[in-house]
Subunit: 190 residues, 2 copies
C-alpha cells in the first residue's frame, strides 16, 4: 500500500513542522507525533530513521515553499508593497498558532542541530533574505518604496523585526507585533 505510506509520511512531516515552530527541536518527541496519528512512535522511524532525518525533511519543505513563493512574487502583478505585505502576513498568522517562524526556531536551537541540518538551514535563510532583498530593490527601482540602506541590509532589518517580533508577541501579546509591522511599513512607504 504505497498511498497509505505517502500519506503517513506527509502527515508526519506536517505535524513535525508545527511542533518545530511551537516547541522547537529539543522539546518535541516522536511520541507527540505518534499520538496525533494514532500510531506507535517507533513507526515514525520507518519513514524517518533518525530525528535528524525528520528535521532535514522539514527544512526541505520550507526551502521548496519559499522557492515557490519567490517565483510567485516575481511574476505577480502587484506592487512591491503588496508583495511585502503577503510575506508579513505569513508571520502574522503564526502568532495565532502560538508559533514562531522556522528560522527563529532553528536559530535558537542551532548549537544542538546536526551538521547536515545546519547546512540546509543556511541555504533556507539565504533564500529568504535574498527574496525580501530582491522585492525591496525592485520596489525602490519602481519608486514604490523608500529606504537608504542596501537592499540586503534593509532585508536583514525587516527579517529580524519579524522573526523576533513573533517571539516577543508570544509573551507580550499581538499588539506589539502589530505596532512593529505598522512602523516598518511606514518606514519604507514614506
Amino acid at each position: 500500500m504505497v498511498e497509505k505510506s505517502i500519506d503517513t509520511k506527509t502527515a508526519i512531516l506536517t505535524i513535525a513542522k508545527d511542533l518545530m515552530r511551537q516547541l522547537g527541536y529539543n522539546a518535541f518527541s516522536y511520541a507527540d507525533i505518534a499520538q496525533q496519528l494514532n500510531i506507535k512512535n517507533a513507526a515514525i522511524h520507518y519513514h524517518y530513521p533518525a530525528k535528524e532525518d525528520l528535521l532535514l525533511g522539514v527544512i526541505d519543505t520550507y526551502i521548496e515553499e519559499y522557492q515557490h513563493l519567490g517565483k510567485q512574487l516575481i511574476a505577480a502583478p502587484i506592487s512591491s508593497l503588496q508583495k511585502l505585505s503577503l510575506f508579513i502576513e505569513k508571520y502574522s498568522v503564526l502568532i495565532d498558532q502560538k508559533s514562531i517562524c522556522i528560522i527563529g526556531s532553528v536559530a535558537s536551537d542551532y548549537n544542538t542541530l546536526p551538521k547536515s541540518v545546519r547546512e540546509k538551514v543556511l541555504k533556507l535563510i539565504d533564500l529568504v533574505i535574498d527574496m525580501v532583498a530582491q522585492t525591496l530593490a525592485e520596489g525602490r527601482a519602481k519608486g514604490e518604496l523608500t529606504f537608504s540602506e542596501e537592499p540586503k541590509t534593509k532585508s536583514l532589518l525587516i527579517m529580524t523585526n519579524l522573526a523576533a517580533g513573533v517571539q516577543l508577541a508570544r509573551i507580550t501579546g499581538k499588539k506589539d507585533f502589530n505596532e512593529i509591522v505598522k512602523a516598518l511599513l511606514d518606514q519604507i512607504k514614506k
Copy 2:
C-alpha cells in the same frame, strides 16, 4: 559550611545562565552543570529542587542585572547614543560566545516553560523594553537622537533587530549582525 554552599549555588546559576543562552531550556540538563562543577547532578537538586526553580533563579539574576543597568544609565554622564551603544555591545559579545540573548531564548521555549517562569519573563522583557524606550525618549528630548515613531515602538524595533540579529549571526556570521547595528545607529543618528 555556609560559604561553600553559596559558592556552589552561585556557580550553578552562572553555568545555567550560559547554558540557557547557548542551548536553551530543554536542551541542557543537570548533568551538563554537574560535569563542569565536578559534583553529582543530583547535588544540584539540593540548591534548586526542580529545573523550574533553577530557571526562576536565572531570570531573577537577569532582572536584577537590568534593573542595575537601568539605574546606571540614568545617572551616567554620557550621551544617549553612548548609552544605547553600551546596550548593543552586550549583544555583540554574545555572538562570540555562540549565545543568543536570554529574551530570545525564553521566547523560543516559551510554550514549554512553567507558568511561574512565564510571569517573571514578562517582567524582565517589560523592564528591558522600557529601559531602551526611556533612553530613546531622553535622547530625542535632548536633540541627540532622531526617530519618528513612539519611543516604545522604536524600542521594539531595535530590540527585535538585536534579538533576532544575534540568532541570525549564529548561522550566517557576525558580519550580518554588524551591518544591522550600523544601520540602526545610522537611523537614529541622522
